[in-house]
Symmetry: C2
Subunit: 660 residues, 2 copies
Amino acid sequence: MQLGLSFSDSDVSSFTPLVVLELADDTKAEAITWLLNRIRDKQQNGGAELLVNQLLFPAQDDQKSNPNVFVVGSTLQRLLNGAEDVGLFKEFQDGTMRGFTYANRESFKDFNGDGEGFLSDAECQYIIKHGLDTLRAKNEQHVPGYPKLKLYPGKSVVRRLQSKGVLIQYFPLHNKEDLKRLSFSWYKKFKLSFQPLDDIRHYFGEGLALYFGFLEYFTFALVPMALIGIPYYLFDWEDYDKYVLFAVFNLVWSTVFLEVWKRCSATLAYGWGTLSRKKAFEEPRAGFHGALGFNPVTGREEPVYPSSKRQLRIYLVSVPFVLLCLYLSFYVMMVYFDMEFWAINTYHENPNIATSILLFVPSIIYAVVIEIMNLLYRCAAEFLTDWENHRLESSFQNHLVLKVLVFNFVNCFASLFYIAFVMQNMVLLRQSLATLLITSQILNQVMEAFLPYWLQRRRNKKVHKRMRRLMGDKELPLLGQVQLETEMNTYLGTFDDYLEQFLLFGYVSLFSCVYPLAAVLVVLNNITEVYSDAFKMCHVFKRPFSEPAANIGVWQLAFETMSIIAVVTNCALIGLSPQVKAYFPESDTQLILIVVAIEHVLLAFKFILAFVIPDVPKHIQVKLAKLDFDSLEALKKRVRYVWNKILTCCNLPSAFFFFF
Amino acid sequence: MQLGLSFSDSDVSSFTPLVVLELADDTKAEAITWLLNRIRDKQQNGGAELLVNQLLFPAQDDQKSNPNVFVVGSTLQRLLNGAEDVGLFKEFQDGTMRGFTYANRESFKDFNGDGEGFLSDAECQYIIKHGLDTLRAKNEQHVPGYPKLKLYPGKSVVRRLQSKGVLIQYFPLHNKEDLKRLSFSWYKKFKLSFQPLDDIRHYFGEGLALYFGFLEYFTFALVPMALIGIPYYLFDWEDYDKYVLFAVFNLVWSTVFLEVWKRCSATLAYGWGTLSRKKAFEEPRAGFHGALGFNPVTGREEPVYPSSKRQLRIYLVSVPFVLLCLYLSFYVMMVYFDMEFWAINTYHENPNIATSILLFVPSIIYAVVIEIMNLLYRCAAEFLTDWENHRLESSFQNHLVLKVLVFNFVNCFASLFYIAFVMQNMVLLRQSLATLLITSQILNQVMEAFLPYWLQRRRNKKVHKRMRRLMGDKELPLLGQVQLETEMNTYLGTFDDYLEQFLLFGYVSLFSCVYPLAAVLVVLNNITEVYSDAFKMCHVFKRPFSEPAANIGVWQLAFETMSIIAVVTNCALIGLSPQVKAYFPESDTQLILIVVAIEHVLLAFKFILAFVIPDVPKHIQVKLAKLDFDSLEALKKRVRYVWNKILTCCNLPSAFFFFF
């Protein structure tokens, strides 16, 4: 629980600062006073009972730095109580994972003395975030000083301040020592070993650790395919009709891959105690707005937005917009094919080195255009989904993921499907696939890691220079760190990372039988991806709040859908192969019927497999059942104990007994 | 809660008898004494705290009747406490359904005075059954008098007695007055109105009420199809190529049908309070056996049976057996086709009335043979599944349903698929379908209702005669009723009823486009089915214990699988129709590709639809969320109340507080 900071700047903070809170620099003083009081107030008075201090930067001449930066910390007692409130699971003495309760604190592993060091930094920060998020308005009509910032009883204060830009951001501080250790074991030494997932989880939380776990699993799962792919590529270079075996391998692989991952993910989540953790009550989004009305569930007054209006926005604006974008994407594809034909013709008219390079140019341009379109569309999709005014973050995320996935899928794969099944040109398919894959990988790595890193370095240097000029030789590590991290980019969640893996999975599972090197390329990409992602998490972005997660959520569904499409595609590719066609020399009809029949059997088999294989491994099921059983037994004992205590020591009204 | 019985035979029973318990007539006296004591013993001593009395029949000369027949009843207080134990949901004052608690009893609707009449008969009987089922062995090593009937702490006594045949049966008594009322409103008056589902649920429980609800829903859903079918049949008699439109209608219908049913079922289950009810802990089956070992979850000593052994039995015996039966079924099908061809040839050689009747004979024989094979296979499947030694009833049921469904599906539909897609003979398909459907319906009605009814009447008369001879003019209604009901057949659950509907659904959704009258026939069948099923429940079978159910369980999955097969089949039938073929005069390939593409789109659409349409209607979701919210609020209030009480009135060790 200690941040590796010296507190020589002790006027700044008398406690371990864990979270930084940045308000707009023109925030009215009365609002600040009110907010700090509410944060400091006791929990029984509806406060968050946290410690908070203003960070006072030395006066500056040339560049104004924001005076309204605060650091938030907490007492150990509050953190331990908070751990119970948020339903944290910790390791029990017997090695199982159990919901932490303050009463049983002594029975948890690694709980020594007063509990110092029991909770990890990330957990403490998560508890503080929860405390801030659930700080609710009492009887205030509006935020003091801001008559337009209406409040109603029960509204999350932080969400309201955020929605109107008074609260610019709040984020957890990095812990330099832990970070050093983590980055050393993670990516600093080059080694052939697994990632330190437990340490990653410890520092960044379960959501991110699961992403890296998935990335690793995916990469390892691709290795056999890559190993088969290399000889295929080397010895059957021009023999496109030999791909049937590889397609069959793909079929089996893409099905088994996801089923096994579900079980791995359950095992990881059990070990981290998130598997059986209940979902917390979900707050309305910060941006959600509506006329004041009554919540049909709680009966309390709060903004409501009629779902019919939202449906109208979705079906009359969003859906047509998505369709328009899809049309645009098809149009661009057609332009690409025109370019492609033009390049081929040019090459045939005058075959030399220049024109043979020209052959690849349309594909490269197309790959770049696809990336740009994806980026633009992403912004539009975010704007639209925000405008749809979803009440819950989860519903917002689902609509966003759906929009982005459909477009990305069409944008990236439409041309490949067109080449494969309409043009039936396997040579062109192979060439397009290779160009698309390589170009998008290079672009991705640049956009994702090198560019932000370069920008970050420039910024760091500037901040360092400024700090040195201001404070001379004085060592003010906390001030420096806060200043630095405040200006770092915010990590926007695992969405883009999963999306990239999703598209790579698509390239591999759909078409790798035609271009066996695809798996090799993806493996290479993912190895660098691990390093660049690790680096960007540690040094490019602000530390994100840890986020408990039991699985990869909606992405599991997305990958499964892709694997179903992969079955259909691979069957169709098999049916198209000259090798298979040779068996049915006289009749296409028979061939098609057989391929379709096999495809149906495979799809049925896939569904049965998904149904039969339990998502959670047997030994973990037993552990979970045991946990349930134990807690039931404990409850019974507790009721008996309380009952006896009450009977022996006090005279309560008889109705009281029935409360148990 | 009153059974409509006069208790002039007051020496027989001093309480309202609700459940009859029949032990083997040679049961040892010490075992009987022990069992009765355990049943009567207080709950805190591990007993069931129920009232139980022996029924003493007058001595008989010629026919010995079993002396070991007992009636079980209960005090009102025990029933109300039991209602809380089993987690019964009742209507609250505000119209919502809430888990009944004794403490809040006054806040429930219809709770007057001491609660007389608050619980229905079926509920009381369910509570008594639960009390008997959860009567557990304490430290007994074996059942007194039966050293071989081993017991271990925690083993359900009733299950053990049942497994060795000491306990022959236990069943709830009919309530003659309620039954009269119910049967009057249900099937005695012919009317065009819905069934009294609430009354059925009140008398027979949710499981059966849901079956009748489904039967009704299915029948009504078929009416539009039947209405379209009649003109189709009348005007397009010989025009088989006009069935495309009807196939499209089938496609849409079978998808919408099941989605809407899910919502109807949720609405019904919410109204009956079973939707949000948690599943009770499942006891091992009565027939489950194994060597004593340790349960990995509870750590207690109990019989365990290695799942590897079970897997061996399943894969080495059951699966080969099922495959053999399927082969047999195919073989019979082939014999049928031989007969069919012989009949057609005979007709063509010598067309007259006799030979034209002969045309239908093979189909009729085949339909009868199918029914017989289904029956035989059913017995074998039950034997095998029992031999697989599943620990839980639910796992037993799933394996049984799977075995029976696969065989029934193949047995009933294989010939139709063969005719449709291999022989592509639509005239024969129509004829076979009609014969199969009509024959199996007639057989079903006879086997299911008339035969048992006739047997039952004979038995009733015999019992009445015997009773009259024995007791002369004395009125002993309870004795007579018990004697009568003991000898009635036991209703074995809704399995056969759902299976019949499943097959009918198959006939309609798969092939009704070729034979539009199918829907009409099924509607007619189901109307008589409602009446005959209602009659058989009321008068042919023993009253079954009510069984809480929130949905139709595994049958939903079975019907959904059938509707997926229906999409494939209907698409294929459309592709085969001359009407569609006419559009692609030169190329079959193109036609097949288009049909396959459309089929894939339809399947995808079906899955998306199933995913998008919420299973529980919005307004019920809100009600459920409100319930959750209210109970959370109530818990908070209760904790605060208890806390204050304790603070104000007694001095407990501080650790005590953390128990809340």
